[in-house]
Amino acid sequence: MPSTEAAITVVDLHKSYDDHEAVGGVSFEVAEGEIFGLLGPNGAGKTTTVEILEGYRASSSGSVTVLGFDPAERPRALRERVGIVLQSSGMYRHVRVREAVAHWAGLYPHPRDVDEVLKIVGLDDEAQATALVRTLSGGQQRRLDLALALIGDPDLIFLDEPTTGFDPAARRAAWMTIKRLRDLGKTVLLTTHYLEEAQELCDRVAIIKSGKILAEGPPSTLSQASARYRVSWRDETGTLISDEVDDPTELLHRLTGEAIARGESLVDCSVVRPSLEDVYLELTADQASEATQ
């Protein structure tokens, strides 16, 4: 029996295609109401993992439970409670946005209000709501994808690379929308290869590479895995110097003191804590160098 809190349980999941192993023994749990991120480079096995959870692919071995069901059996009761945004999926070209969302609403037993969902995803102005799908921009189509995933009022939402190809403004807007899902009490499993995105949105992150999970935890604790500060500045000759310290207080005091004594300003001074990005690059780089050996 899965624990009542876990929306998703994955135990030792394997998936092989012919001679190539796409997922090699992945285990994780996603709690109800949590935003969980699978973070990794392209080809890491993120989409394969998610598509097994969505019921699109069969696993080679291991066990998966989604909302208490085996997704491979594709039970209708499960599909009624899950919303899916695929990495790429087309839509009818000759349907209007509101029409499409209203049509999708009819597929579910307890749909949300159509206009409310259009508002959540930001397609609520009349021109957008009545536009034919084939006239939408890439970003608008992605918002429609999300609207179609949300209209059934699902408990669990899969987002496979929801902002790939977005410009920074569109990405920010999408993040706002995804955060709103948390407020609605939804469980979200998202995949991304943007670290910033995982850091911004996820309660917990699993870093995945070559079909294996390398690290897992809240973004903040993953960063603290190497909780040192990197201090950079230019010395009196203009050379950029950088140093890593556990506590930057003393170093900064010395640097500012010296600069004041010289009557100069401290140029290009920065204090940075390692981001998830550093952890990510460190972990995935190790793997890459192992692979080339």
């Binding site: 699109y56 790429s88 839509m91 009818y92 000759h94 349907v95 597929l107």
Partner: protein, 247 residues
């Protein structure tokens, strides 16, 4: 909502979208009618030729509205990922496909009715002599060519290739099956090929219902050939069905 109600909703959406798509509406709807009036004009005054042409065009219409339309549409839906998206919803696959195929069948029926009216008004044909026979051959023809269209979409590699692939089947079949002329004038080997294919038998049946008034019992062999093709195509359509694009 019941599976039937869901199929009905899908059907209504398909109807709405069909008329908004000028290319689809033209090729599977207007083109057969253009053929009808073009060849009708060429053969005008020659009732024997018109008596061959009108049932021929009716058979062509059944094939164009179902086989051509569905082979192309299913390829598009598969390649664009619409099928995959639908697969992730609670909509049962049978309801979904019923809606799509129902819409194609509607086009076939509308075409047949237009051809009957045109035959009566412009081409010296009376009203159909045997409505039941007409209905039986239309329904069976639709079932045969609709399932053939879905089955054939499994062979089409991508959407760009769809018109070439469908026409490779459609054009030779309409030419050897006596749509535009009497099959009796065709070389034996071509006639043998045509007789092994379903279209000629659909046309024979429709011709009996519209022109000669020969009873259904005279056309049981035609019925049998189309029924065998339908069965084979349904099996192929179901077995090869794929919800997602090829990797």
């Amino acid at each position: 909502m019941s599976d039937t109600a869901l199929a009905w909703r899908q059907y209504r959406l398909e109807r709405k979208m069909f008329w908004r798509n000028p290319t689809a509406a033209f090729f599977s709807f207007v083109l057969p009618l253009i053929f009808l009036f073009l060849f009708g004009a060429v053969f005008s005054g020659n009732q024997a030729n018109l008596n061959v042409l009108i049932p021929g065009i009716a058979g062509l219409s059944v094939m164009a509205t179902t086989f051509n339309a569905l082979a192309t549409q299913m390829t598009f839906l598969r390649e664009q990922g619409v099928l995959k998206r639908v697969r992730g919803t609670p909509l049962p696959g049978t309801s979904y496909l019923s809606g799509i195929i129902g819409s194609a069948a509607t086009n076939a029926v509308i075409q047949i009715l237009i051809i009957i009216v045109a035959g009566k008004l412009f081409f010296g044909l009376g009203w159909p002599k045997n409505w039941a026979e007409l209905a039986i051959f239309t329904v069976l023809g639709v079932a045969c060519f609709a399932s053939m269209g879905v089955a054939f979409s499994h062979v089409i590699p991508n959407f760009e290739a769809a018109p070439a692939y469908t026409n490779l089947v459609f054009l030779p079949m309409i030419f050897i099956s006596g749509v535009f002329f009497d099959v009796d004038n065709v070389p034996t080997f071509l006639r043998d090929i045509a007789n092994a294919l379903p279209l000629v038998h659909v046309i024979n049946g429709i011709s009996a219902a519209l022109v000669t008034g020969a009873p259904l019992t005279d056309h049981l062999s035609d019925l049998a050939v189309v029924a065998v093709w339908t069965l084979a195509c349904v099996i192929l359509a179901v077995r090869g069905f794929s919800w997602s694009a090829r990797d």
